[in-house]
Symmetry: C2
Subunit: 426 residues, 2 copies
């Protein structure tokens, strides 16, 4: 199970001695948990150190939720939202209820209309809440939880406490204090793992398991990636290779990366990726700006810009080799739609040809290109993919001499809003 | 009903005599339909020339669809998809079935799994198809239509023809020829209106009306915008003002525009906007690269990059003054979530404060800013908004000496794919 990394130019020539040395030092920083932001390197060995007992507990809770609920409302923002959302959407089957449990997110935005309509919807369903917040005081999810907890208590009375699960700091915070008092089931947001690196913790695992997916395989895929990327090799280590190419292109005047995929199921992996890279790298006036497109849809939209617009973009295709299901174009008696030349081809064949065609066109248009290829979309491969991205992101930021693991910039708007709304203490 | 345009710097100082002259010339090009791409200026006076009989016919068809169908499958890509999608999502009520009719899109991407699962879903519903394609041979929707037409004919037999509606060229093309032969109801994609400018034609109006929305008001809003923007005034004409500021910022080294909104319902207006501007401006190595964020969600994601990353972005907030529904934060006995300072505030008040806080933080971080404000999200205001964007986009492209109305760059990948798959003639 590998992710292959292909570059439209010569990779070898990027590997100067200076870069080699920097990569080796970076590799050491990451693996030995030293270097910038090293307090937050818990994710590096998390997959291999995941205990069976922990996974078993999550699965039991998930089973319990599935047995007594129609809907799991997950309250969280940032990494407490995007990790689960990415995995759930990549495994979802459109138009069909995969599992009996519906996962709905709240608190990732602030909307009275949304919460009111959600509450009306919940009235006809059995509900469990999972509120995810390290501190318990992050404003947006705290607002959603204030309303949804009131709803649960009004509706379920004493039973509400058995229907609220809290994922929060192990030792302190408002949410922990409340959970202890009320007797909510509790899971931990590890001290040394930041939000955008948290999908393999209870933050992601509980919603993913509750939705009916296999978290053992998700962790197994991540674990395989963890082992794979322990190898310091600039050719075989995909996380290193992708980071090197990105950094090179950034230095050559390509500060915008467009992540392109032909599979709509990867749309929220794209959103998760934008947080991971944008929030890790966007500091000190530096960083590659992450954007995303879905093909073929956006070939009829941003495609024109990518082909002919300002030359400051590079494009990274994320291709999936096998699809879960497919159709074969049939020969039609009436060929006025001019499609008979495709007869006998599957739609996946078509997309692969479309990728080739687009890659070639964009390259000719002056858009440097990277192609990442994974085998298929299942829990194991998605676990592997997400770990890959986390690891490559760490290298990427370190190559820019940036701490990948903090996010000081988000404090500015928060401080401002507290001042404007006169929060005590501000 | 106005859209106000506010700039974080001094607007007056941008208005040189040279620019004035260029704007006046551009205004003439647009209003008199001369200048680059003038074959495709039909959208300029389309709202005011919309006939009652035409709208009545659309509404009758919509009523008929609602009377005999549970699902309308709309097959189209690019402008034949994004216009309807933008309007439908901006008027949708999450978790509730607004209308009895569900609108599902197909052909905006190529996926065997998606089509198969869609067809299985449709088995338990009554279905109408609306296939939208000027030529009838655009590959991606043609593929979807080949499968879905086969499904409809197998399922409904002779009745299928009464359940397929075609929106295509008035005089030629494969889809027109098929529609005439089979007796499908037909609507016209006007000769002089390009895909990304087509939302007010039958391309957008039929799906929007079928979903239960008021297309009279949508057109009325667009008509008001049409009249408003006939006035050549660099201060009061919002379409001119926004275009001038964008162009100025592009020239000052800000080639990426981030459209930010606090209302999730505007997410597909953002997608539509990205096609409109990306496809109109992204030519000859020029153009502002359009990106989008949804707040507060992305304040915990790309927010860090916007605050502190590479300084090449400007941010345009699209704010909505009134919301359709809201909640007021209540005072809680247990204030450990620290939210009592918000008690008595609505969530919309919170978002407004969040906007102020974010705008101020990002400005301090070196991100030039434009704020567009509209009154509310209903058919009339959305019609007004979309026309505003179309008009301002035309000015924007002309200021870069670009033809806004063609899209030569998308031909490259199409030619390539035909060669790769050996389409006859390539």
């Amino acid at each position: 199970m590998k992710i292959s990394v292909n570059y439209s130019e010569d990779y070898q020539s990027l590997l100067t001695e200076e870069l080699h040395n920097k990569l080796e030092a970076t590799h050491d920083f990451i693996q030995s948990k030293t270097g910038l932001g090293s307090d937050f390197l818990g994710w590096v060995n998390w997959p291999s150190s995941t205990q069976q007992a922990f996974l078993q507990d999550i699965k039991q809770t998930a089973e319990h939720i599935r047995s007594n609920s129609d809907v799991l409302v997950v309250i969280g923002i940032g990494g407490s939202y995007l990790g689960s959302k990415a995995v759930l959407e990549s495994l979802a089957t459109p138009f069909q209820k995969d599992s009996q449990l519906e996962v709905i997110f709240a608190g990732q935005l602030v909307s009275g209309a949304y919460l009111k309509q959600l509450i009306t919807y919940l009235d006809s369903k059995e509900v469990t809440l999972n509120v995810i917040s390290k501190s318990g005081t992050t404003t947006e999810p705290a607002i959603a939880f204030r309303f949804l907890r009131q709803y649960m208590e009004a509706r379920y009375g004493e039973e509400a406490a058995a229907r609220i699960i809290v994922t929060t700091d192990e030792e302190k915070g408002a949410l922990l204090s409340l959970a202890k008092e009320k007797g909510y089931k509790r899971y931990v947001v590890p001290e040394d793992i930041g939000g955008r690196y948290s999908v393999f913790t209870a933050v992601g695992l509980l919603p993913i398991a509750a939705a009916g997916h296999n978290i053992d395989q998700l962790i197994a895929g991540a674990k395989q990636a963890e082992e794979e990327f322990q190898v310091m090799d600039v050719h075989s280590n995909a996380a290193i290779k992708y980071a090197v190419i990105r950094n090179h292109l950034y230095g050559k005047g390509y500060p915008v990366e467009i992540m392109a995929t032909f599979d709509e199921k990867l749309k929220y992996v794209q959103e998760w990726w934008k947080q991971l890279f944008g929030e890790s790298e966007g500091k000190e006036g530096k960083g590659i700006f992450p954007a995303s497109v879905l093909y073929s849809t956006d070939l009829h939209s941003l495609g024109q810009y990518i082909q002919d617009g300002k030359r400051m973009l590079f494009e990274t295709f994320l291709m999936v080799e096998q699809v879960s299901d497919d159709l074969t174009v049939f020969e039609a008696e009436d060929n006025r739609d001019e499609l008979n030349y495709l007869s006998g081809l599957t739609l996946h064949d078509f997309n692969k040809a479309c990728h080739e065609a687009t890659a070639s066109a964009h390259l000719d248009g002056g858009v440097p290109q990277i192609t990442l290829t994974m085998e298929q979309l299942d829990e194991e491969h998605i676990g592997h993919l997400l770990y890959f991205y986390m690891m490559t992101c760490a290298y990427s930021a370190y190559l820019l001499d940036i701490n990948p693991f903090d996010q000081p910039g988000v404090e500015d708007y928060k401080r401002n809003i507290f001042k404007i709304l006169k929060k005590p203490g501000y």
